[in-house]
Every structure is written in structure tokens, then in C-alpha cells.
């Protein structure tokens, strides 16, 4: 038990440290880590959306996935399994991304935004907790996407790590196939996409965070679930430390600016900050984990979580092509419609997929 406590403390401290440090070293404001924003940037970098200022192959995502992959192999926990409603998970992953991009961040970035003094994040995180609580009701009514089964073939588990290595090579070599139009990869020349810490440090931050998150099963929806269900604060301790360490470092680095106004890559619309992360919380419960946890599970061989991650990639592309993503000016009308649609879809899934 003592070792386990040491591990969650190490995990919280590491992610909190890089959460603040990566910003100091060049990442966008309050964006040391953000699963949603970074997957969105990757989605744009490979040309799936055309929002020119959010295109970059974020090494943090590559590192998180590969870190989880290596840690699970080392711990003999790498197990290829799949078959629990993959297409539904794809759709829920897409809506989880859309909700996050209406808020402007995943729950982890919510914590890091708060640690930078952005009080809008508090509104979003309240929405997240409410979404988790709401989603838990469906579980109590018998919601279940069905069992995943061990795959006959281990090979499927290597697909995601190979894709991540492919992305890393694209980032390092920046190939150009189309001299006139650019591509196959696109990199922003304007912020926030142009802002990034040195590649190797970002990659290391991802690898360490991914390995530790795999060992501790770090998950924000899981943290609140454990607290509400069994009054256990093991996972929440991790998030508390992420917040505390990032907060202290942000103050030291001069990155802490408390308030609602003029926060980096954030808007001040209470309702849609709340509802954006509410949708994320609801989808996270139905999927069995927040965006970070889906990425980690995918790294350790969970093909269904891999579908949720691909859904997030697709959702990010849709969010920008359909103008669903918010901007510092606030949410778009299309984004508001998409969040409502996402809530309806999630509720229908929650009611239909029920054990009798």
C-alpha cells in the first residue's frame, strides 16, 4: 500500500511538473498536456481539418501512447482485447472530443487551466463532475456496452504504437510530397499551433506521463467515481497533486493569473463551458474512462479504447470543419447544436445498451 501511495504521488508530481514546465518551454498557455487539443492538432497536422492555426504533431500524445505500451509490456499487462461495441465507442469518442473543444480542453487541461488561475475551468470541471454523476445513473440502470474478449492474435495491439511511431517520423522528417499545396503534413505558423516545447522534452514528458498513468490507472472520471462510490481518494490524490505542483510552478514561472478574463485559449461563457465538459463526463462514464485513460488503454492493447481514440481524431476534424470548436470569443452556434446533439446521442446509447 505504501508503494502504491508513492507511485500515485510520483505520477501526480511528474504530470504537474511537466504541465507547467512545457508551457514555460514553449507550449500554448495552460496547455502542458491536453489530450483533446493535442489530438486535434495532430488531426490537423495530417490534413484532416483545415484550421491552419491548430496543426502540429504533438509529441506528448505519441509519448503517452508509447509510454503506456512499454509500461504494460514491462509489467506483463499488455493484453490485446476487443469486441465491446467498437462503433458506438467511436461515436462516443467523437462527441467526447466535440464537448472538449467547446470547453477548450480535456479534463486534464481543465485541472491545468485551473492551476494557471483560469477560473472558467472551475465551471467546466463542475460540468464534468455533473456529467460523471449523470452517466453513473445509466450504469445503475444496467448500462453495459458488452464484454471485450481477448484477441486470438496479439498483432492488433501493435497497430496503435506503430501509428504513433509513424507520426513521430513525420514530425522528425517533415516530408513534402506536394510542393505547391503542402502536405502530407501541415504545421501551423501562427499560435496556438505554432507554440511548442522542444520535441524531445515533450516526447519525454509524454513517455513518463504515459508509463506512470498506465501503472496507476490514472483517470479523472474514475477518481470521482471511486470517491462517490466507495469514498476512496487514491486517484483523486493524483489529480490533487497535479493541480498543486502545477500551481506552485506556475506561480514561480509567473504563469499564474487568477481570474475569468483574458485567459489563454479559453472563453468565458459559463453555460457552454459547463455543458462542454458535462458531455465529456457523460461520454467518459459510458466509455469507461476520460480521454487520457482511453489513450492509455489503447496503448496497452485495448482495441475498443483504440476506437474511442480514433473517434476523437475524427471528432476533432469534424469540430473544425463544421465550426463546432469554440474560440476565445466564445462558443459557436454550431458548437452549441453539436453539444445538444451529443447529449441526445449519449442518452440514447445509455438507455439502449442495457442489460435486462
Amino acid at each position: 500500500m505504501k508503494n502504491k501511495n508513492a507511485l500515485i504521488i510520483l505520477t501526480g508530481a511528474t504530470i504537474g511538473l511537466f504541465g507547467a514546465l512545457l508551457v514555460k518551454l514553449g507550449n500554448p498557455g495552460n496547455m502542458g498536456y491536453c489530450i483533446a487539443c493535442f489530438i486535434r492538432d495532430i488531426s490537423g497536422a495530417v490534413g484532416l481539418h483545415r484550421a491552419a492555426n491548430v496543426q502540429y504533431i504533438r509529441p506528448e500524445i505519441i509519448g503517452l501512447g508509447l509510454g503506456a505500451f512499454v509500461a504494460s509490456l514491462t509489467a506483463k499487462e499488455f493484453r490485446v482485447r476487443e469486441g465491446s461495441a467498437p462503433l458506438i465507442r467511436f461515436v462516443l469518442g467523437a462527441f467526447m472530443m466535440i464537448g472538449a473543444l467547446v470547453f477548450l480542453g480535456c479534463p486534464l487541461r481543465g485541472i491545468l487551466r485551473l492551476a494557471g488561475g483560469d477560473l472558467n475551468a472551475l465551471v467546466g470541471l463542475l460540468g464534468f463532475v455533473a456529467g460523471v454523476a449523470f452517466g453513473t445513473q445509466f450504469l445503475k440502470w444496467g448500462f453495459n456496452l458488452g464484454r471485450a474478449y481477448p484477441s486470438k492474435f496479439q498483432a492488433g495491439g501493435y497497430v496503435l504504437p506503430l501509428i504513433l511511431i509513424g507520426l513521430l517520423l513525420l514530425l522528425l522528417f517533415k516530408p513534402v510530397f506536394n510542393v505547391q499545396a503542402g502536405g502530407p503534413v501541415f504545421f501551423s505558423t501562427a499560435p496556438p499551433g505554432s507554440l511548442h516545447a522542444p520535441v524531445l522534452i515533450s516526447l519525454a514528458a509524454g513517455l513518463m506521463g504515459g508509463a506512470l498513468a498506465q501503472r496507476t490507472r490514472l483517470c479523472l472520471s474514475g477518481g470521482f467515481r471511486d470517491f462517490f462510490l466507495v469514498k476512496d481518494v487514491y486517484l483523486l490524490k493524483g489529480y490533487g497533486l497535479i493541480f498543486l505542483v502545477a500551481l506552485i510552478l506556475n506561480i514561480i514561472f509567473g504563469q499564474f493569473k487568477p481570474g475569468f478574463l483574458n485567459q489563454p485559449i479559453a472563453h468565458t461563457n459559463f453555460l457552454w463551458n459547463f455543458l462542454g465538459l458535462f458531455l465529456v463526463g457523460l461520454c467518459a462514464v459510458l466509455l469507461g474512462g476520460c480521454p487520457l485513460r482511453q489513450l492509455i488503454l489503447a496503448g496497452e492493447g485495448d482495441g475498443d479504447a483504440g476506437m474511442a481514440v480514433l473517434g476523437m481524431v475524427a471528432g476533432a476534424a469534424l469540430a473544425h470543419n463544421f465550426m463546432l470548436a469554440s474560440s476565445p470569443a466564445g462558443p459557436t452556434l454550431y458548437g452549441q447544436v453539436a453539444v445538444i446533439l451529443g447529449l441526445i446521442v449519449a442518452v440514447v446509447v445509455g438507455l439502449v445498451y442495457r442489460e435486462v
Binding site: E77, R81, G83, L139, K140, Y149, P150, L229, V230, D232
Partner: protein
């Protein structure tokens, strides 16, 4: 009263919730078969908070079997 549960392949947090439901029915001995390491740890934490002791029995590779026993 003794009950058994198969939580193999279920997404988080169903293994914990199903275990909790069986505990709420008053089972004194619960045998649980599962496969994800996260579920094993979550169930062990639930057992500790509900005053059940946990023993592990042999299971096929990639799976685990826990026996929860209510402490008197």
C-alpha cells in the same frame, strides 16, 4: 450466502459496481473472475472499504480470481 461473478471483459467501472451490488445483497463470500488489472485493484479497494478480506486463487493466464470474505 455465497455468490460468484464473472466480470471478464467489462469496462470500468462495471466490475466494481457489480461487486458492490452483490455485497449489498448481503453475500458473505464472493468469488470473482476477471481479467483487467484495474478492475482487480478497484475491487480490492472496495473490499477493504466494505470490511471484506481478499484472497487470490489460481486462474488461467491473463485472468484472475478473487475470493472476498466478509469479516465477522
Amino acid at each position: 450466502m455465497s455468490e460468484s461473478l464473472d466480470v471478464r471483459g467489462l469496462s470500468c467501472p462495471l466490475p466494481v459496481m457489480k461487486t458492490k451490488a452483490v455485497m449489498d445483497r448481503g453475500a458473505a463470500v464472493i468469488e470473482i473472475l476477471g481479467d483487467t488489472p484495474a478492475a482487480r485493484e478497484n475491487i480490492a479497494r472496495l473490499a477493504a472499504s466494505r470490511n471484506y478480506s481478499v484472497t487470490e486463487e489460481e486462474a488461467p493466464t491473463g485472468e484472475w480470481k478473487l475470493i472476498l470474505t466478509l469479516r465477522r
